[in-house]
């Protein structure tokens, strides 16, 4: 049996990669992928803890989260698609008309 810590460590690394990506990247699609990474890190934690304490509700939450991630990806890609049509670029640094 793989100890819980390994899962947590993996999830931590995944989360850190995602967070690093969000903070540094500017390409919209890459950003969305990083968000997915962070979500999956959270899912992994949920499943790992749920097996650890022998309670299935964690896995149910993970399923919810996956569904949510799918919806989020759909909306996110739709936005990026629209931005691409308008600006022919998907660099989010250009999308700051609403600041100030």
């Amino acid at each position: 049996m793989i100890p819980l810590q390994y899962y947590l460590l993996l999830a931590g690394i995944l989360f850190a990669i995602g967070a690093y990506g969000i903070m540094t990247l500017s390409n919209g699609i890459r950003l969305l992928m990083c968000v997915e990474l962070m979500l999956n890190a959270a899912n992994m934690n949920l499943i790992a803890f749920s097996t650890h304490i022998n309670d299935a509700s964690g896995q149910v939450f993970a399923l919810f989260s996956i569904a949510l991630a799918a919806a989020e990806a759909a909306v996110g890609f739709a936005i990026i698609l629209m931005v691409y049509r308008l600006r022919a670029k998907i660099d989010i640094e250009n999308i700051k008309l609403l600041r100030w």
């Binding site: 903070m23 999308i95 600041r99």
Partner: protein, 677 residues
């Protein structure tokens, strides 16, 4: 309905109608007067005639039928403030004089104002003016007196500025109000103080009625404010009100300007309805003044000073109406001075002051109305330098003015002779008891006599005799029926009032009953009022019996009057002395008099325009830039801080994500630290 036998009617019950009738006249005149007889004037004149009938009815009840004096009141607003009416010799003397003179002035105005297009407004205002004066005179308490005192003020404002399209008239009205307002605010403060110390005595009903105050003078005299007797402070504050309304120095400055109104208004103001109010206030509140240490001394001195001061100014003015205006200030000074002498003379001084007031009302109304007739006859020229020789064309007016002038200078056997010489004699008695200041009062009053005679006859000679000095003066036209009748009636009283009243004695005896009630306390309004005891409260000692001054004192005013008359005759009638040598701009004395001792300059140019307007402008700056500046500064700071802090919102997602992650990490570290890992 009406009892056929008038003598059985008790008019004293209807005293409030004396006030109400002119008020009704005011409303009718204002609302429908324009559509009635001669487009205005009927309602006002008739309503004042009605008041006159009630007034003389009351006089008949009290003086002939001895029905006793009368006082009644209704609760008004606040607890202890009443609307009350008092019928006693003092108020009767006033209402009878006011209604009579005012009625004849209205009668005269029907002719004088016949061509004015806003005649109904004029008559409405004069009716209100007269009605307010009745209210003032009949008031049994200080507040009601003050209310009508202010109403008199507002009517004078409106009437002085009646020809509102003339800027000088509008400004004169404002000046009159402002001078009075300075006095009135202090008067009101005095009433507030009186109210307070009366409440302190536990008085709950009719708190500031004269009766209640007189009954409590002994307790009130123990009250002190700021270490001074409260009554003295109150009396000084009342005195300030009197100086404003009765044109005492230094608040008299409005009187000459008030000549911008119609002449009938000047007559009303000077004779019947306004300036006498101040004298009446001191007379009515006489026991209070008597009980207040030093108050009457101030009154006497201010009065005497005003009397002399104003008569010096009368010497140089060329405006016919203004000469008489200064004579009014001067004569009011005599009345106020003799009231001040009451510290020694007691109630007699009230009687003397009132007699001079009544006599003055007749002859001053006469003087103004005859000068109004002159103005009417020569096309509104007021400068005596442009008149001359008017007696030929205007005999009625000229001789009426002569009658008034003789009464004014106290020519023997005229009304003024009996009233004014008595004042001067008794001022001497006051002086012998009252110390150095008392002599000063007497000297001022005596010097005033010679000046009065000179300036009065200067005006009469210059206007009526000699050669006409301008085109309109060559063909003056005499006044018509309404005005002529009035002049005749008033001339009669100006000459014969003294003789009718037995040299004033009947009048004095009647008036002295106002405050002396030992003989018939049952009917007295002020039961138990003992002026001798009250005088002791104020540190005054009244004389018990009239002392007689030495005979040289009695003849001195007469001699001085003749001297003044002689000067005027020599200079202005016989033209023996050429005054133009002295009346020059480079004569410093003339300069000072011509500029009215620079008092107007001080008030208007320095205080009003320089100091106060500067303060106001500064105030506006303060309001706009300091107080509102703080408000705007606060909003500016808010906006600026927003300007700065909104830069944080870069619009770049990575920055937000970094901030979120940083914040969450910080929170976690915080949680761990707090929970001790």
């Amino acid at each position: 309905m009406m009892d056929p036998n008038l003598t059985t009617i008790d008019f004293r019950m209807y005293a409030h109608w004396i006030v109400l009738l002119p008020m009704i006249g005011f409303l009718l005149e204002l609302l429908i007067g324009k559509y009635w007889w001669r487009k205005g004037g009927m309602f006002a004149t008739l309503s004042i005639f009605g008041s006159m009938i009630i007034s003389y009815g009351c006089l008949y009840n009290v003086y002939v039928q001895h029905l006793g004096f009368w006082e009644y009141s209704w609760p008004w607003f606040y607890d202890g403030i009443v609307a009350g009416f008092v019928v006693d010799p003092l108020s009767l003397a006033m209402v009878c004089m006011v209604s009579f003179v005012s009625f004849f002035i209205h009668f005269y105005a029907i002719g004088y104002m016949s061509h004015d297009c806003a005649k109904n407004v004029y008559f409405a205002e004069t009716a209100l003016f007269t009605g307010s004066m009745f209210g003032l005179v009949l008031a049994n308490n200080l507040l009601q007196l003050f209310i009508f005192w202010e109403m008199v003020g507002v009517c004078s404002y409106l009437l002085i500025g009646f020809w509102w399209h003339k800027p000088e008239a509008a400004a004169a009205g404002k000046k009159a109000w402002m001078s009075c307002a300075v006095g009135d605010c202090l008067f009101l403060l005095g009433i507030a103080m009186m109210y307070t110390i009366m409440v302190k005595q536990g008085i709950t009903s009719e708190i500031i009625s004269f009766n209640a105050i007189f009954q409590n003078l002994e307790h009130l005299s123990h009250e002190a404010l700021f270490g001074v007797s409260a009554l003295t402070i109150i009396c000084i504050l009342f005195m300030c009100g009197v100086l404003g309304k009765s044109a005492g120095f230094p608040l008299h400055v409005w009187i000459p300007d008030a000549m911008e109104g119609p002449t009938t208004v000047s007559a009303l103001i000077h004779a019947a309805t306004m300036v006498t109010a101040g004298v009446y206030l001191i007379a009515r509140a006489f026991p209070i003044f008597l009980a207040a240490p030093n108050a009457l001394m101030i009154v006497a001195f201010m009065g005497a000073f005003t009397a002399l001061y104003a008569s010096t100014l009368g010497l140089v003015v060329n405006d016919l109406k203004r000469i008489f205006a200064y004579s009014t200030i001067s004569q009011l000074g005599y009345m106020i001075a003799i009231l001040g002498c009451g510290a020694v003379l007691g109630v007699a001084s009230v009687a003397y002051a009132l007699f001079h007031l009544v006599a003055h009302a007749f002859f001053k109304a006469l003087l103004f109305l005859s000068s109004g007739s002159v103005l009417h006859g020569i096309g509104n020229i007021r400068d005596i330098k442009e008149m001359g020789g008017l007696l030929k064309g205007m005999r009625w007016t000229g001789y009426a003015m002569l009658a008034g002038a003789l009464a004014l200078i106290a020519f023997p056997l005229t009304a003024g002779y009996y009233s004014k010489d008595r004042i001067i004699e008794d001022a001497y008695i006051y002086a012998t008891h009252g110390g150095d200041l008392g002599y000063m009062v007497w000297i001022f009053l005596v010097l005033g006599v010679i000046l009065t005679a000179t300036y009065t006859f200067r005006a009469w000679y210059l206007a009526m005799t000699g050669e006409p000095r301008s085109y309109p003066a060559i063909h003056p036209h005499e006044c018509g029926f309404w005005m002529k009748t009035t002049l005749v009636v008033l001339s009669f009283f100006a000459i014969f009032l003294g003789i009718i009243t037995g040299g004033g004695k009947d009048f004095w005896h009647f008036l002295e009953e106002t405050f002396v009630h030992e003989t018939h306390t049952a009917t007295g309004i002020y039961p138990g009022l003992n002026l001798h005891e009250i005088a002791h409260l104020g540190g005054n000692t009244l004389m018990h019996h009239g002392a007689h001054p030495p005979s040289w004192v009695i003849y001195l005013p007469l001699l001085l009057m003749i001297a003044g008359l002689a000067i005027a005759t020599t200079v202005y009638y016989k033209n023996r002395i050429d005054v133009s040598k002295y009346v020059k701009k480079d004569n410093p004395l003339y300069q000072i008099l011509w500029n009215k001792y620079y008092l107007d300059y001080l008030f208007k140019d320095i205080i009003a325009e320089k100091i106060i307007m500067t303060v106001f402008t500064f105030w506006d700056v303060l309001d706009r830039y300091v107080i509102d500046g703080v408000v705007n500064l606060l909003s500016w700071i808010t906006i600026q801080s927003g300007q700065v802090s909104r830069k944080l919102q870069t619009g770049i997602v990575q920055n937000y994500a970094t901030a979120v992650i940083f914040g969450v990490s910080m929170l976690m570290i915080l949680v761990i630290m707090i929970r001790g890992g």
